[in-house]
């Protein structure tokens, strides 16, 4: 991937954090900085970065608000950054259109992984019918799922669920987003249905269902299909 030309907008009011990110990402990306919500909105409009790293705890505007305003006119990938306890805010931001999230403090490895996934969407060809990662192969043309070459039999709901995860592979999907995608808007907050199906899915495709490596839980937020 030609990351040398890619531009990251780092939005955080803490100077030390911006410094660290600039230093860590500088070798692979062009790093732009903004220190407040207003600055960020202006920067996205004028500088056209390829991805935004947005801190939720901004002084002038709620990060969720920034996300919402950006989403009014751009589909630019947004990764939000927040502290551990604020699951509600994370969900709100993801629902408002953010693509993924990071929990402070985070390591650069995690950051890079998220950035890669977020950027892939823009370069990803949506029409790729076969998805594979690790030992998992999902053929959306044939509606076939294979683990270790062995075919796996899924119920229609389980397949839909897996397909949704595959479509957003590598990115987090909130409980509500998954429910809406698979069951429809009437079924928001029926999390137990989701739980049961995830549990069944794991039992069928995970080598150790109690230590899942493909369908990973994001506590309090949702689930993510990991790209190994």
């Amino acid at each position: 991937m030609a990351e040398m030309n890619l531009r990251v907008l780092v939005v955080d009011d803490e100077r030390s954090i911006r410094r660290f990110l600039k230093a860590s990402l500088g070798s692979q990306f062009v790093v732009l900085e903004a220190a407040s919500g207003e600055e960020a909105l202006a920067a996205v409009a004028s500088e056209h970065p390829d991805v935004v790293l947005l801190d939720l705890g901004l002084p002038d505007m709620d990060g969720v608000e920034v996300t919402r305003r950006l989403r009014e006119w751009t589909q630019i990938p947004i990764i939000i950054v927040s502290v551990r306890e604020q699951e509600k805010d994370k969900i709100a931001a993801l629902d408002a259109g953010a693509d993924d999230y990071l929990t402070k403090p985070f390591g650069v490895g995690e950051l890079m992984a998220r950035l890669r996934v977020a950027l892939r969407r823009t370069t990803q060809i949506d029409n790729e019918p076969v998805f594979s990662t690790g030992n998992l192969v999902v053929d959306m043309n044939q509606r076939e799922v294979r683990m270790n070459e062995q075919p796996v039999s899924l119920t229609p709901t389980e397949y839909d669920l897996l397909r949704t995860l595959v479509k957003h592979a590598g990115k987090v999907l909130t409980h509500d987003q998954l429910l809406r995608a698979v069951w429809g808007t009437a079924y928001e907050s029926e999390t137990h249905m989701l739980q049961v199906n995830i549990s069944n899915l794991r039992r069928k495709i995970e080598p150790d269902p109690s230590r899942p490596i493909y369908i990973v839980t994001e506590p309090g937020v949702g689930y993510r299909l990991k790209i190994l």
């Binding site: 049961v196 995830i198 549990s199 269902p209 839980t217 506590p219």
Partner: protein
Amino acid sequence: MPDKPSLPETAPARGRLKIFLGYAAGVGKTYAMLEAARQCKNQAVDVVVGIVETHNQPETEAFLQGLEVIPPRKITYDNIPLPEMDIDAILRRQPRLALVDDLAHINTPGSRHARRYQDVLELLEAGVYVYSTLDIQNIESLKDVVAQITGMKVRETVPDSVMDAVTDIHLIDLPPDELVQRLKDGKVYVPIQDGHAVEKFFRIGNLTALRELALRRAAERVDVQMRAYMRTSAISGPWPAGERLLVCISPGALGEHLIRAARRLADELKGEWFAIYVETPNDARLSQEQRDQVARSLRLAEQLGARTISRPGQSVAETVLEYARRHNITKIIAGKPVRSRWIEALRGSVLDRLIRAGGNIDIYVISSEAEPQLRQIGEAWRPHRPLWRYLLAVLLAGAATGLGALIAPYFHPTNLVVIYLLSVVLAAVYLGRGPAILVSFLGVAAFDFFFVPPPLTLAVDDTEYLLTLIGLLAVSLVLSQLTAMVRLQAEAVQQREAETVELYELGRDLTVAADLEAVCQAAIFHVGQTFSREVAVFLPIGNSLKVYSVSPGLLVSDEDSGVATWTFEHGQVAGRGTETLSEATLRYQPLKTTRGVVGVLGVKPADPARYLSRDQVRTLDAFANQIALAVERASLAEQARQAEVLEITDKLQNALLNSISHDLRTPLVSITGALSSLADDRILLDESSRRSLVETASEEADRLNRLVGNLLDMTRLESGAMRIKRDACDIQDVIGSALEELGGRLGDRKIQVEIPSELPLIPLDFVLVERVLVNVIDNALKYSQADMPIEIKALAAGAFIEIEVADRGTGIPSEDLTRIFDKFYRVQRPGNVSGTGLGLAISKGIVQAQGGFISAENRAGGGTIITISLPLE
């Protein structure tokens, strides 16, 4: 059991609610209400009928004649128009009194209020008086009791708060038989369709139980009202309703039986009771067995809740009455006399004397029959005592003369002098000095008149007789005087002994008093008892003298508080009956010890005209001394306790701060150190060293992060800011997540996870329970070797899910098994164990906040199992 109703503090300015209460449908509540309403109308009260359901009973309908009815509103529900009370029409009409039937009625949906009682409240608010009807089973707090009795659940209920606002309850009572008859006659409207259920409800047993419930409820209100009246009128005891009973214990065999009867009576009358035993000089002749009997009776009385008193005295009746009067006893309980009638006649029975001299104290006599029959002997006529005595004196003189006449023929007249002397002594001992002197003179005169020749004249033949006469008079007078004096002295000694006993009892109670409160209570009780006065104890609180404790009902005015302060500052008596500030209402006694004045005792007489006698003043001083010492002791003990608590709290806080400080700084040491080494150009590092430093800094940073997280969690838990969000969760998911979170810390450990597949989804907070598991597993990791496996199991156990985390580590000493869940508790282990000791405490907090439990036990073969139980609901 229903709560005790309370009356509003002041009369409400709005309308009053009167309830016609019945125990079942058909007793005639509506009828009675209408009857009362008609009476009101006859007295020109503006009455309207808000809503009354006659159920086509002709008698009830007849009563509606002549009463103005406000037409009901029709509210359509399910296409059926149903009548409901038209509140607005009533409010517009502005009647004085409105009749509203069936207070517990549930209104048709679409009405202004959901319940009719709410409608009524609105009417009351507007100043309208309301009469309403209600069944006992419609009272909210009695719902369950009624359900038990009748087997039917009632939906229409009125909350107890409304019942409390009711001003009047008119109980409509009807014998159950008659009610059943009325049912059979078709005169009862029963809103139950099922005939079988109706039959079941209208059983005599049920009805009787319901009736009793209603009667009791009405009676409770009367009791409360009376007590409230007493309070508002500031009436304190003795008041006939506040009984104080005194039971007299004698060496007779009636003892135990009497005590129990007294206890029963005290319970019924709801009063305090006392047991007194009077030691007369005769008791020296009591057998050991009789003495034991008395002791047993006294002990029993004390066990059953009486205060026991022992008093010396000449006469049982008099001592008892004296005590009774002094301590405001309202009823005396005595046993039926067991001595034979002859002895009774000669010596006079205690009971007779009690009755005659009892004044307005009621005497209850308990007989020894199988059933203790309590016959109340009413107030006895109180004769004028001194007259009685002098009369007896005359009689005595007469009796002596009579006796003399009998033996005169056989003896020389001079010998008869002895008889007269005897009578004088008797008079002096039993009747007092005055009568004795009377007997002396009468005796001499009678002797002269009847026995000294010439007989039947006062003249004296032989001059020798003159000497005899003078001698008789002189000796008689001296005898009278001396004997009377001895008697007075004996009385005084008894008095003093009584006071000493009281002082002793005060001392005894003060010694066992554990704190200032108990000391003051003991002081108030004993001073109040002994001096028949109300007492207030003032103690220095903060910078000023304040009232610490008072007899119930005593109010201390500001002026009096000022006098108390003066007493406190000057250490001298002041107030009523003293030379200083004598217009005060109370007498103020300083409580002095060697350290100074520790407080003030205020004493207020029941009768403002009565002052304390000199003896009483002395006794009060003695009391004050004792109380002062006790107060001082209690204060010092209190101070010592507080100081101790402060010291311990201080130590704990210091220890805690030190611990946290250490735990926060330690990782920073490594991080700063590593980073500075890496930054320093002068230090040459090879690749592996660099890597090592970086890894160290990274790990320590993680550790610091966890610690900060733990501290935040703990703070959140303690301040109640932790929000629990419960969703149906898959335990497998939670466990998996926790293991994922632990990540690198797990190392190469073998983790065995066993979860049955049929385990249901459990309502819990995913994030928080994940944290609990992380903490618990982390704990297992810390306390066991790196090559030992960790087993995680989940199983259903009744109404709970149990998650077990088991390690093969060193185990926990059994006394620490509960303490490991305390904050900052770390088991003392050799070998470096990191962590703040908060993890398990946080886990416990989170688990408990979700209604679960967490516990630890050691397992066979070494190691520990920590079990987390979470409710399935």
